[in-house]
């Protein structure tokens, strides 16, 4: 949960009076709130945490980080299904 992941803006739209983006995290696509980085533009990168863009990032470091996270399975950890993981852990513990 504490992990913040770099993503790339692919679309921007107002929703319910809130500035929102669609962002791409190495293939995983998520809605992201831009209220804290309102001038982020399509094509730019930012660090995203729990659905909020928090700080701009240059393209090269964003790509590098994403590659590293993908390699280490950290994107799965961040975006995977937590119910499944919890159920699996319970099963294996024989509960």
């Amino acid at each position: 949960m504490c992990l913040a992941v770099p993503g790339r803006v692919t679309e921007i739209a107002e929703r319910d009076g809130t500035r929102m983006a669609v962002m791409d995290f190495g293939g995983v696509v998520k809605d992201v709130c831009l209220e804290y980085l309102p001038d982020l533009a399509v094509g730019e990168y930012a660090i995203v945490h729990v659905g909020f863009a928090l700080q701009r990032l240059d393209e090269e470091s964003a790509r590098r980080t994403l590659e590293l996270f993908a390699e280490l399975g950290m994107l799965q950890e961040e975006f995977g299904d937590p119910w499944e993981a919890a159920a699996r852990a319970d099963e294996e513990a024989g509960r």
């Binding site: 949960m1 709130c33 804290y36 945490h49 700080q55 590098r64 993981a85």
Partner: protein, 374 residues
């Protein structure tokens, strides 16, 4: 070379390590504050690559781990109510309360839902006007602004069935508490990069000055950690104690002003109990008076719950850097990620989980100097 090959850029890593070796003339103890950094360190065995005497102490920077037991028990009590949809980040599911966890509450019929963002919980509230939707708001300064925004939006859009159980924590008072402890061995801090992305660095110079301790803002990738260590030991060797930013690509000195303004509007600073550690003055946030309507603790009566910590769990010492996870007797025997006794074993950022996951079952013999750097 065994470990270094796993680095994304082994040449850069070995250069940084060589520099650290050339700098260090005596033992130093540094604390990495953030649980994400602990995981990088253990995963890449960075602690074992460092010259003898340079020790990394794992800090309390795992929000899931430090959420106090009484708050978990309150969450469980609220989540079990038939009129409530309880929303939480996924890593709270398995955190043990006094006698169960959120996953169990859901199995017993509670409507517990995992959300990726606090705005998802707000949407659930808007789509279910006849239910009470409660979001479990935990986390450090990185998570607090998103959660603050959800409360702000609820008010703006008039979504009255949305409330938040708030257990936010702040890093600088924790650093203060660690330095003030008589058992403290920490001589330098690697400050948590993403916390500083939001808050900037303004809170740190006074701390560095008062405790004469270098504080280096550090990122989460292996090379970031090595660079943070390099800069911290360089200061220590020179007898300096400044605040440095080794994560400039993501941290501006002023942080994110919009996010900080929202924090100030929605929350107010309060004393907060940290699980395993106790109350740290001024170390938390709660909803400010203006937003009391959206405070789950006011909406539901959750006082008078008795809590009971498992006696064997020593996570308080682990969180303060006084004990390494594998030194706990329960580690890997009665306590594993599948049968966790403490939150530090459950959370993906917990130190006990990191040691278990990367097979640090005991302290391995230090690898030979020559075999480490080619």
């Amino acid at each position: 070379m065994k470990y270094l090959e796993e680095f994304q850029n082994p040449e850069l890593a070995s250069g940084l390590l060589a520099d650290i070796r050339a700098t260090v003339t005596r033992p130093w103890a540094l604390m990495e504050v953030c649980g994400g950094q602990t995981h990088t360190i253990i995963r890449h065995a960075i602690d074992q690559l460092l010259p003898d005497g340079v020790e990394l102490i794992h800090g309390p920077g795992c929000p899931v781990c430090v959420t106090p037991l009484e708050m978990i028990d309150r969450a469980l009590a609220i989540a079990a109510r038939p009129d409530v949809v309880f929303c939480s980040f996924g890593d709270m599911l398995r955190v043990p309360g006094t006698d169960r966890d959120l996953f169990r509450v859901r199995g017993e019929g509670g409507d517990v839902r995992v959300v990726y963002s606090p705005l998802d919980a707000l949407r659930i509230a808007r789509d279910n006007p006849d239910r009470e939707v409660v979001f479990f708001g935990i986390g450090f300064e990185t998570t607090a602004p998103p959660n603050a925004m959800a409360v702000h939006q609820a008010r703006k859009l008039g979504i009255r069935n949305f409330s938040m159980l708030v257990s936010h924590v702040r890093v600088p008072p924790a650093i203060e508490a660690i330095m003030a402890s008589p058992d403290c061995r920490v001589q330098g801090f690697l400050a948590a990069g993403h916390v500083c992305s939001v808050m900037g660095t303004a809170e740190y110079p006074a701390l560095a000055e008062r405790h004469e301790v270098p504080i280096v803002v550090t990122g989460f990738e292996p090379l970031d950690i090595l660079e943070g260590i390099r800069r911290t030991v360089r200061q220590l060797e020179r007898g300096e104690h400044a605040v440095e930013n080794a994560y400039a690509r993501a941290v501006r000195p002023e942080g994110n002003p919009a996010a900080r303004a929202m924090l100030e509007d929605v929350f107010e600073v309060t004393d907060r109990a940290w699980r395993g550690i106790g109350v740290i003055p001024q170390s938390g946030w709660r909803l400010s008076e203006r937003y009391r309507d959206h405070d789950a603790e006011h909406r539901f009566d959750v006082t008078g719950i008795t809590t009971r910590e498992p006696a064997q769990c020593r996570s308080g010492e682990v969180l303060q850097g006084l004990l390494k996870p594998h030194q706990c007797e329960a580690f890997g025997t009665t306590c594993t990620p599948r049968t966790p006794l403490g939150a530090t074993m459950v959370s993906s950022e917990g130190a006990c989980a990191a040691y278990y996951l990367y097979r640090r079952l005991s302290t391995p013999p230090a690898p030979k100097e020559a075999s480490r750097v080619g």
